[in-house]
Amino acid sequence: MPFTRDQMAARLATDVPEGWCVNLGIGIPTLVANHVQGKEVIFQSENGVIGMGPAPAKGHEDPWLINAGKQLVTLAKGASFVGHADSFAMIRGGHIDLCVLGAFEVAENGDLANWATSENDTAPAVGGAMDLAAGAKRLWVVMEHTTKDGRPKLVERCGYPLTGLACVRRVYTNLAVIDVLPEKGFMLVDLAPGVTLDELRAKSGAAIHAN
């Protein structure tokens, strides 16, 4: 049975070691925070919150405290605040151990496309994705393995406009966990329960290597 969105996030969370500073994108990536338990991980948000805690309890929201997805958040003990320039200095200077993003496509050379679906998009909106792609120490993608209409999202070359070049190190999908290796391309780490390598390969647009 393929992973649910929550299971994908949980699977990814098991690979995050204690002490990392992690930036989570909008969507499935945000779910990762719920699954990092029993270890201290510092969640950073582009809008200058360094050390977010869990979602606020009802009635205890602070309207001045949101994350980059505009959701109300709380502070962990040890949290601090910076302005946008300092927050992105942290991101662009290589101080984020891990960034987790969603994607439209990931290519076997590690290219990421996750911000625009065509070159003539009506209002292209990039946000902080290119900064994170270029700046984070490592970038992991979590996404459905295929589009809603069944087209593969793991591809030989991205067709959509790029967010960053050769930046994705690992991909977590509903079907598998896959490393993106320099020179080599996609390398299977784990299959979701009940998924076969043949099925995975059939649903991928590029070669999936396996040991």
Binding site: P63, G83, H84, A85, A129, D131, L162, G164, L165
Partner: protein, 231 residues
């Protein structure tokens, strides 16, 4: 006596000229100078270049300013929102220019303007569509894009507390673009919740020194966060 506190929003925005580049602070609804934006709508300046993270939500604030045809161009990282109807209509009809800039590049370009740096290099956007029209250069074998400083004629910002020198303390995630925008404009106007006595703000809590601020107007929107006073 230095006193940057003005008594009305109209006074705070006096002299903003047609054709101005206006830096507008805030991220989401936090740290957004909403009353100053309303004031700018009243004030009447047109042919504006608006620099901010989003392109407005619904039909209020910046979206309203755009709907009134007062914004010639918007420089932002994320023109989409929960309700982007005004921007998207204008954009589709070719009635507004859009310069899309990665969020970190936007913040750094504004800081550069405030810090006397006319241009810098960044790996962000290298090899992507947003590199187009920009100089590209390799340093130590890696590709970088040259980005130019982005100064404003006016900055509209928001803070939690101010004193008469214009020193500002932000609350929670309310700093965001406000501190760099305060540095980068000829005229910086701050909307604040609370005015404190000079000396009451802790010297280590002040994120924007008053040197960067020209006018402060108090707009109390509620909220009960108390900052520690100077020891």
């Amino acid at each position: 006596m230095i006193n940057k506190i003005v008594q009305s929003v109209a006074e705070a925005l006096a002299g903003v000229k047609d054709g101005s580049t206006v830096l507008i602070g805030g991220f989401g609804s936090v740290g957004q100078p909403d009353v100053l934006i309303e004031g700018l709508i009243e004030q009447g300046a047109k042919d504006l270049v608006a620099v901010l993270n989003n392109a407005g939500v619904g039909r209020i604030g910046v979206a309203r300013l755009m709907e009134l045809g007062r914004v010639r161009k918007i420089i932002c990282s994320f023109p989409r929102s929960s309700d982007p109807v005004v921007f998207e209509t204008l954009y589709r009809e070719g009635r507004i220019e859009l310069e899309i800039t990665p969020q970190g590049t936007l913040a750094e370009r504004i800081r550069a303007a405030g810090a006397g740096i006319p241009a810098f290099y960044t790996a962000t956007a290298a090899g992507t569509l947003l590199e187009r029209g920009k100089e590209v250069r390799e340093f130590d074998g890696k590709r970088y894009v040259m980005e130019r400083a982005l100064p404003g004629d006016v900055a509209l910002i928001e803070a939690w507390e101010a004193d008469r020198w214009g020193n500002l303390v932000y609350r929670g995630s309310g700093a965001n673009f406000n501190p760099v925008m305060a540095m980068a404009a000829t005229l910086t106007v701050a909307q604040v919740q609370h005015i404190r006595e000079l000396g009451a703000l802790h010297p280590h809590m002040i994120m924007t020194p008053g040197v960067y601020v020209n006018r402060v107007v108090q707009v109390d929107r509620g909220g009960d966060w108390v900052t520690p006073e100077q020891a």
